[in-house]
């Protein structure tokens, strides 16, 4: 019927009006569909309780020079390493041009002695080795990821292998000289 009407009329003006209403209706239903999709997409994002569990306090007193500990923050391992003087110096001496993801050591620490890193390889998320004394530490004396062979230096910066970025530094603050809060 409608088609017959427009066909006989063949009026350019009538057709544009009809097309406009048609497009507007389609557009509105697309908006409606998106509005319905949104809560479902959001539903899958971290919930309030997961977000609330997002700080961890760490007592640094038992950690001696050259030692490292692993703590959990948001379900991920966080590496806390008390670096030796030599490690700090090596990290500081590296030229930025030698780094795939250039960052100075100073920009990655609050106190040079304490290196705090998210212990998750930036390639595909394995936990790199190097926390225990017996672990391989890779070619640059930091960490080595066994999954696909990424080498990190004593500042946790990527030096060799498929990982694109440096080990992330989580947000943290010194509450006093021997306690930090991560998150």
């Amino acid at each position: 019927m409608a088609e017959a009407a427009t066909a006989t009329k063949g009026h350019a003006e009538g057709e544009t009006r009809r097309d406009f209403i048609y497009l507007a209706a389609m557009g509105m239903s697309a908006v409606g569909a998106a509005a319905v999709a949104w809560p479902f997409i959001s539903f899958m994002n971290p919930s309030a309780d997961v977000l609330a569990l997002s700080t961890t306090e760490v007592d640094l007193k038992p950690v001696l020079e050259g030692m490292a500990i692993t703590v959990t923050w948001r379900g991920k391992p966080v590496f806390v390493r008390r670096r030796t003087k030599a490690e700090v110096d090596t990290a500081a001496a590296v030229k930025l041009t030698d780094l795939p993801d250039p960052e100075t050591d100073a920009a990655r620490v609050k106190k040079p002695e304490w290196l705090v890193l998210v212990g998750v390889c930036t390639h595909l998320g394995c936990v790199p080795l190097g926390q225990k004394t017996a672990d391989p530490r890779g070619d640059y004396g930091g960490w080595f990821c066994p999954c696909h062979g990424s080498h990190y230096d004593t500042s946790g910066r990527i030096r060799k292998g498929p990982a694109p970025n440096n080990l992330a530094v989580p947000p943290y603050a010194f509450l006093d000289d021997t306690t930090i809060r991560i998150g």
Binding site: M44, P46, T72, K76, L124, G125, V127, C147, P162
Partner: protein
């Protein structure tokens, strides 16, 4: 075709109102099938039966399984030790997954060899690739459920693939996890989806069959059925042949389930998941090894991920990449050789994927990855244009009948 006359009055009464019996008669009994199908045509119906087996064993497992990080591992061990025949149901499900992939891979290579994807069966083929993708997602999420070390780290590595997406990658990964690492919300949603997707597969299989029955099966000669002399009814001829194949399959399957149930498994998955320790050597399930090799062959994170997904997506366009007019490799001597090179190439990729990316594995992996794409993107189009196929027989019956006529 006219509705068949059923003898039973009740059947007639129902069929008049709900024509399921006519439908079955039409699709099974009258459905003309080429009379020269070989055993390579058994794997489709076999895959369907294994899908039913997976759903059946899966629903029963779900009655005793607990999708929570604190209980998942133990609930599976409980199924293995305390639940009546739990070991049997779980081993059938676990090895059924592997069997499903073996069957589907044979089914796909059958299609590649005999050119089953060519007009008018392009959509049939595409639906098959959709089924493959759904199966991969289902199996991946199922493997996470027992919450062992390989479950956890496999899930971590695979979900992290999405972090390679520029700009939004990290948000996508957080969204997939429902947290900041693979954790309880992840396990929960994987269970929900692992339960759901097999039914999506059933839907895709139905469409696959609708498309199949439109033009019927292709056949080893790759020529169309020319008339009734070329075909036989599906039932009882192929139902019997499929049942025989099923018997052979069940013997082999029972052999694995009862005598080598962990043949395809990874011992590390019997260690409960530990988010703080990555096992030294992470490997996916065997059916993902070739893709894993392709991922690692490319030193760049994003490009590696693209190549890995590309290796499956390329199958979607195979009907248009292959320019040959002749379907079956039987009449394409050069293509036939390269087909077998591709088969070997896939095994090489699988072997490389199972080994650490060091030394010569890296080079071999890169060469094999190159060849994989070379086969589909260069060889298929070019060979179709330059290869001179052997002469095709007149009809499906002709090669069988001619010698007989000669003798007479």
């Amino acid at each position: 075709m006219a509705a068949p006359a059923f003898n039973n009055a009740l059947v007639r009464w129902i069929d008049h109102r709900l024509p399921v019996f006519s439908f079955m008669h039409h699709e099974l009994h009258e459905y003309p099938t080429p009379k020269n199908l070989s055993y390579w045509w058994n794997f489709g119906s076999l895959a369907g039966i294994v899908l039913v087996l997976m759903i059946l064993t899966g629903v029963f497992l779900a009655m005793h399984y607990t999708p929570h990080t604190a209980f998942a591992f133990e609930s599976v061990e409980r199924i293995m030790r305390d639940v009546n025949y739990g070991w049997l149901v779980r081993y059938m499900h676990m090895n059924g997954g592997s069997a499903f992939f073996i069957i589907i891979y044979i089914h796909i290579f059958r299609g590649l060899y005999y050119g089953s994807y060519k007009a008018p069966r392009e959509l049939l083929w595409i639906l098959g690739v959709v089924i493959l993708l759904l199966m991969m997602a289902t199996a991946f999420m199922g493997y996470v459920l027992p919450w062992g070390q390989m479950s956890f780290w496999g899930a971590t590595v695979i979900t992290n693939l999405f972090s390679a997406i520029p700009l939004i990658g990290d948000s996508v990964v957080t969204w997939l996890w429902g947290g900041f690492s693979v954790d309880n919300p992840t396990l929960n949603r994987f269970f929900a989806l692992h339960y759901l997707l097999p039914f999506a597969i059933v839907g895709a299989v139905v469409l696959h069959l609708v498309a199949l029955h439109r033009f019927g099966s292709s056949n080893p000669l790759g020529i169309d059925v020319k008339g009734p002399q070329d075909s036989i009814p599906f039932h009882p001829y192929y139902t019997a042949k499929d049942a025989f194949g099923l018997g052979i399959f069940l013997i082999l399957f029972a052999g694995v389930v009862f005598f080598a149930p962990n043949l395809f498994g990874e011992p590390d998955n019997y260690i409960p998941a530990n988010p703080l320790v990555t096992p030294p050597h992470i490997v996916p399930e065997w059916y993902f090894l070739p893709y894993y090799a392709i991922l690692r062959a490319i030193p760049d994170k994003l490009l590696g991920v693209i190549a890995m997904f590309g290796s499956i997506l390329v199958l979607f366009i195979v009907p248009w990449l292959d320019t040959a007019r002749v379907r079956s490799a039987k009449f394409r001597p050069t293509f036939r050789k390269f087909f077998w090179v591709l088969v070997v190439d896939c095994f090489v990729l699988g072997y490389v994927g199972a080994n650490p990316p060091e030394g010569w594995f890296v080079i071999v992996g890169q060469v094999a990855t190159f060849y994989y794409f070379f086969h589909f993107l260069i060889l298929l189009p070019v060979l179709g244009l330059i290869e001179r196929p052997l002469p095709l027989p007149q009809s499906i019956s002709a090669p069988v009948l001619k010698p007989a006529e000669g003798k007479a």
